[in-house]
Every structure is written in C-alpha cells, then in structure tokens.
Amino acid sequence: MTGIELVPPGLVLIAGAVLLPLCGPRLRVLAVLGLPLIALALVWQVPDGASLRLAFLDYQLEPVRGDRLSRLFGTVFAVMAFGGGLFALNHARRVELVAALVYAGGALGVCFSGDLLSLFVFWEVMALASTLLVWSAMTDRAQHAGLRYLLVHLFGGVLLMVGIVGHVSDTGSVAFTAMALDSPAHWLMLAGFLLNAGAPPLSAWLPDAYPEASPAGMVFLSAFTTKIAVYVLLRGFPGADILVYIGLYMIFYGILYALLENDMRRILAYSIVNQVGFMVCGIGIGTEMALNGAAAHAFTHIIYKALLLMSAGSVLYMTGRRKCTDLGGLFQSMPLTTVCGIIGALSISAFPLTSGFVSKSMISQAAAHQELLAVWLLLAVASAGVFLHAGIKFPWFVFFQKDSGLRPPDPPLNMRLAMILFAFFCIALGVWPAPLYALLPFPVDYVPYTWAHVIDALQLLLFSGLAFFIMLPYMRRTLTVTLDTDWVYRRLAPRALGRLGSLAARLDAGLRRAVLRRIDTAIDTLFRYHGPRGILARTWATGSMVLWVVILLGIYLVAYYY
C-alpha cells in the first residue's frame, strides 16, 4: 500500500475543477487534459474491495471501493473526460470546463462508491454539474431547458433518497450491493436509477435538455448521466425481469422519435435513449454474457456517441445550424468531420469491424442463449432500426442529401484531434476487442467474428439501408417537433394552472364584489336613518316637543285615574 489507492479518482477531477478558474490559459489547457489522465491512472490503482473507510454516524462509508465493473466504467469515464476536454478547449467557456470536470468527477465518484450515501452525494453532484453544463450555453432556450432538466433530476434524487432511507432502515446497512425488487424502498431506488437512464415515462428530459447545451457541452452530457445509471443498474438490479421490457420500450421509443426528428442533435439524443435501452434490456436478461454485453456496450457507446456528437457539434460550431432542413452537402468542405461522423454512425449501427459490433451482438446472443425468441426478434428489429435512424439518417441528412450551399471548413485542430482519437478507438475496439473483453466483469466466452455473425449482421444492415433509400420520400424532413410526455409539464400543467389561476381570480373578484355590495348596503341604510337628513338625526322644533310632552303627560294622567 503506497497510499495512492486511498485517493478517490473522482475527487481529483472535482478538486482540480474548483482550482481551474484560477489558472491562466496555458495552465488551464494542461489541467483540462492532465486531470483526466491522472484520474485514469488512479482508477487503475484502486484495488479490489474497499480501500478507504470513513465512519459517519453509525455507518461505515466506503467512498473508494473497487472491482472489475467499477474500473471498467472508471476507465471509459476518464477517457471520455480527456476526449471531451480536448474537443472543448478552443470554444468552451471557463464555467463550462469547470462543470464538465466536476460532472466527470461525480461520475467517477459514483463508480467507486461502496455505500449508498457516498453514491447519493456524487449522484447529486452530477445532477448539479450537468445542469450548469446545460446552462453554460447561455441561451434562453438553454436556461429554460436546464431548469426543467434540474427539476426532473431533483425529483429523481428524491425518489432515490427515499429509497435509500427505506433500504437502510429495512436492512441496517448502507452497503451498495445487488438488490431484489422485494420492497417499496427498492422499487423507489430502481425508479431513481431509471429516471437517469432516460426510461419511460420521463424520457423526454434527455432530448429536451441535451441539445440545448453547447457543442462541447452535449459531448460531455451524452456520456455520464445515462451510463452511470447503467452502471448502478448493473450493480444493483442485475436480472430484474422488468428491465427487459423497459429496455425494449426505450429502444423503440428512441427509434420512432429519432425518425421523426429534424434537429440533428435531437436525433442523436433520442438515439442515446435507444442505445441505453439495449443496455437496460441486457441487464434485465441478467446472464453473465448479457451483463458483459451491457457493460461492454456502455463502454463502446460512450466513445461512438461522443464521436457522433463531436461531429454534429463541429457542424453546429462551424455553421451555427442544427436542423436537417438547413443542412446537407457538407461532405464537400468538411471531409474529416464527415468521415468521423460516418465512423461513429457505423459503430452505433454495430457494423462489423467497428466497436458497436463486438458489444451489442453479445446482448442479442445472450437473449438467444436464454431462448427468449420475442426479445431476440425485437433486438434484431432494433439493430436494423438503429442503422435507420442514426446510422444512415444522421450522416445522410447532415453531410449529403442536398446541397445547402454551406461551405464551412473542418473545425479547429483540437476538435479535429478529438474526433480522430475517438474514431480510432471505434475502429480499434472493433478490430481488436480482446483488451475490452479482458476488462469485462465476467470471463468472456464469446467470439464476435464468425462468418455467420458477420454475414447475418451485413444482411440485416444493408437491407435496412435499402429500405431507407427506397422509403426516402417518406423521410422528408419537416420543421416540426414531436410531442412527448414533457408536454404534460411544459404545456398541460402550465395551462391547467393558468386556468385554475384565472378561475380563482374570477371567484375572488366575485366574492369581493358581493361582500362590498353588502357593506355598501349597510352603509346606505345607516346613512338613511342616521345621516344628516336621516329620520333619526333630524333636528326637531321645540313646539312640537312640548306638544308631544303634553300628549304623553295627558296619557299618563288618564292612565293614572283608571
């Protein structure tokens, strides 16, 4: 023990991020690129088991606890922080870099949390840092979307916290281990985890908020929140049947909404939900091969999705446009961005020789081994659908399609280098999956490259491509958005509240009028009798008073005699 394994890898990024505003431009570059590499080195120093224990109240906290799964996710998070930082260097605001590093640090913190309290703290750090990342775009739309994002995630945090409290009071332990869905507390924790994964019914936060971030902001956002949810589901609820169905729903939700979408980064946002659906489904299947597949797919997905978003971000950065209807023909002046975008698109489609092929096929294979015919058939449809909505649609409408007349050059050097690095990873992992397989939580007994696998995959994908081009007239882009469940809190609830408000205002005005009328009547009555001309306030002549006194005395006299 040298003591270095006691340092939480995430804390290095968070502490470094806090100091970042004090750095000059050169030191800042060094910090943004160097801190993730230090974190990566620390990830690999974390031994199996708890290496740091802290006492808190009656509980033993384990802020640093390692195993194969946490090191796998820690590795890809650190690599992602490096690649995202490189991409962001030239254009990200200082606050954005700080938020991104804290966000990545939070993700590493969750990865190595051995107990639920540490996990929750880092979980909320991620929610706050990612909101700041959305806000960093400094537009009105980003402000509003960021606030909605924050509210949804704070709600998710509340679900998780209530679940954790329930779990701790049921079991007396804060340790984060695999759980069964046998108590309300565990269901709440599952709901809190799933909310971050972009699961129904609240998937809409993702395509609502992420595309409003800056080009670099969305690259970071795509990597951490949803994949940390995959990580905690892998650890907390492996083999929970319900996840198979939730995963399948997410897969098809992502495909259908992405097919309808016009904004290139929203297409990619829907496709995040779709891809996380594959992982959630794999976790639900729950065999060693399925869990390996889900973990491997999270790893490869982070890299190719970041690459796709770097490519889309470069287009946005160079043209200021994000709608497919405004784009097209960019391959002529942005060859590198086009090639990198296509490599990302082929990877997400799981084309042979790309990273997606070696990970996604494990999940389908696991479904086949478990003889889940319906799941297997749906996963095959989904693989074809991924090629359709992300694999072809994204590059086709952005880089080819028609000549939009735009001739932007490729983006600045650092953005190009980040894309080249991640494109290299996509191909390298696809050609040589052994190092990735060696990192997976369970021993891998799977050979991706058999002739049958490759030919099956090529048949599925190429004929999906044929369907895309034959159906192209049906895919014409329109200036539209597609309503989602966020309609409830963006449109229905505000309108209902507005109506309720105006109803209350009308009721209030009516009541006030009625009460005021009563008061007016009372005052009028008083005035009539007691006012200056009122009958009771009138001045009477002395003669008439004497007359009345004589009459009264007369009556008195008569009464006395009888």
Binding site: L259, A380, L388, Q459, L462, F463, S464, F468, Y474, T480
Partner: protein
C-alpha cells in the same frame, strides 16, 4: 457551378448498381456459410435480409403514423 462528383446523376446511378451488387453478393454469401439458427426461423435463407428490410419499412410507416398524431410546428413551445 460544377456539381461535385458524388452528386452527379451518373455517379448516383453507378452507386445504386454497386449497392444492388453488394446486396446480391451478401445473399450469396449467406448460402455458402452454414446458418446455425437458435430458433429455426433465424436459420432460414436470407432471414436477416428480408427481416431487416420489412421491419425497417414497418418502422418508417409506424413513425409516419405516430407523427400524424404527435407532430407540431417546431415553434410549438417557443411561447413558454
């Protein structure tokens, strides 16, 4: 302005011819490699080809139908 190579009708025609050839080749390759399906159905000839094609057409039509009900102008939320 001269049309770029990739956008000329002649190129597009040859790309289509090339694509159809590749599709034919990959179907033939399916004949050469013994299929080992897990469920029977998936081992039949060109299963992935027709399944991929038909389900993709189905998904595009399903999205179209969904869009019929759920699509709105993209300024729909702008007054928020």
């Amino acid at each position: 302005m001269k049309q770029p190579w990739l956008m000329r009708p002649a190129t597009i025609r040859s790309l289509w011819i090339g694509f159809v050839l590749v599709l034919g080749l990959i179907l033939l390759a399916g004949l050469l490699v013994p299929a080992h399906g897990y469920f029977g159905l998936d081992g039949s000839f060109a299963f992935n080809a027709w399944y991929g094609f038909l389900t993709c057409v189905g998904m595009i039509l399903a999205a179209k139908a969904l869009g019929y009900f759920l699509k709105r102008r993209d300024s729909y939320y702008d007054r928020d």
